[in-house]
Assembly symmetry: C2
Homo-oligomer: 220 residues x 2
């Protein structure tokens, strides 16, 4: 039983919200995540339930099933592999890839994804630093902490961002805080939580707590 593109998008949103730590996923949450109205979500939940990718009781709540989780992970796998392709092979900037990957993730061909994976040399992380599930849906994530929670003199590498809006990504690119950059915490201001960091051992950068909390660092 195959999913339509709309169903795949809803399921991916539900998966992301489920993994996002929140105890339960509400109709309103889903509507907010995919820019639609709660009425449309209710409709879709019934359909997803019919296809057994979620368990759903009206007015009560929902839970993603194991098969639903696997389908969502495969969509995420495709999305992130295409992002690597766009950045590594087609010289896209990392803030330009999302919209196109949203389309490419729905192409149906397991051979294509196998070959693409090999062509890209089996990448484990996408350009935003998010882990790429393998063909069995397994995800190896690295322990990452927000930049504002690091201590003075600690070093690490920027591996991901929480807020991946185009505006935020452009801001980061502009100030030179790209994914992969090696950083060292030089100073932290106690009362407002802002931080000063050294990027690639040459450039110092000040940023607010707000910005720093959206940058995830792999400590080394």
């Amino acid at each position: 039983m195959d999913l339509t593109i709309a169903e795949e998008n809803y399921l991916k949103a539900i998966y992301h919200l489920s993994e996002g730590g929140k105890k339960s996923v509400s109709t309103n949450d889903i509507a907010g995540e995919i820019q639609t109205k709660p009425a449309s979500v209710s409709d879709m939940l019934r359909r997803l339930s019919d296809k057994h990718v979620i368990q759903y009781k009206k007015y009560y709540g929902l839970q993603i099933t194991e098969s639903g989780k696997q389908l969502a992970l495969q969509t995420i796998r495709k999305h992130r592999l295409w992002e690597v392709f766009l950045v590594d092979k087609l010289q896209f900037a990392w803030d330009e890839v999302h919209e196109v990957a949203e389309q490419l993730e729905h192409i149906q061909s397991s051979l294509l994804i196998q070959r693409l994976d090999a062509f890209l040399n089996y990448p484990k992380f996408d350009p935003h630093g998010d882990p790429i599930p393998d063909e069995y849906g397994d995800v190896r994530s690295r322990p990452r902490i927000p930049l504002n929670e690091m201590n003075i003199d600690q070093v690490g590498q920027i591996v991901a961002v929480k807020d991946s809006s185009a505006a935020f990504l452009r801001y980061l690119d502009k100030v030179g805080a790209y994914i992969g950059a090696r950083i060292k915490v030089l100073d932290k201001v106690e009362f407002d939580g802002s931080v000063e960091i050294l990027v690639d051992q040459k450039k110092t950068l000040f940023m607010s707590k707000d910005v720093a909390s959206n940058i995830l660092v792999l400590q080394s």
Copy 2:
């Protein structure tokens, strides 16, 4: 005014049928080309006419407009570029690419196609030997003739096939008559039109007129 995926597919079919030499394109022809029913075609013709990509008069006939032609050519451009990608970069066999390219051709991103074109080094022909329209819709096609119309001792290169069904393509691969193969006509049997050719200066091959007429050769 953008076209839906279904509209793009109909328009592409109409373009192919229009270019196919036939004087007029019938509802039944289109239904046959796209595997749908004539009633669905009538419906779609009305919609395509509303969007001014064809001119259409009920019971009378249709003609593709200039803007329709341009849109069709851009879809064909995308299809053929993706085919080159699949064969050159992802090691797909040339008889495995069609179905996937049918999906990829609908991805909307002009930047993507620009970059893909550059990445593939601006190819002029797809793996089946068909010309790739440029970004302005211009097509430079090579003069090609069916293999059965060549004369004895003439040499050339296989550049395309008329019948691109998977069965025919697999047959060609099996006997070693791939796209790009250099051939020489050794003999022609008058009464049944069958031909004997030399492939890559080492392998001789017999084929019926039926097969030979579906193989297009660039003479040299």
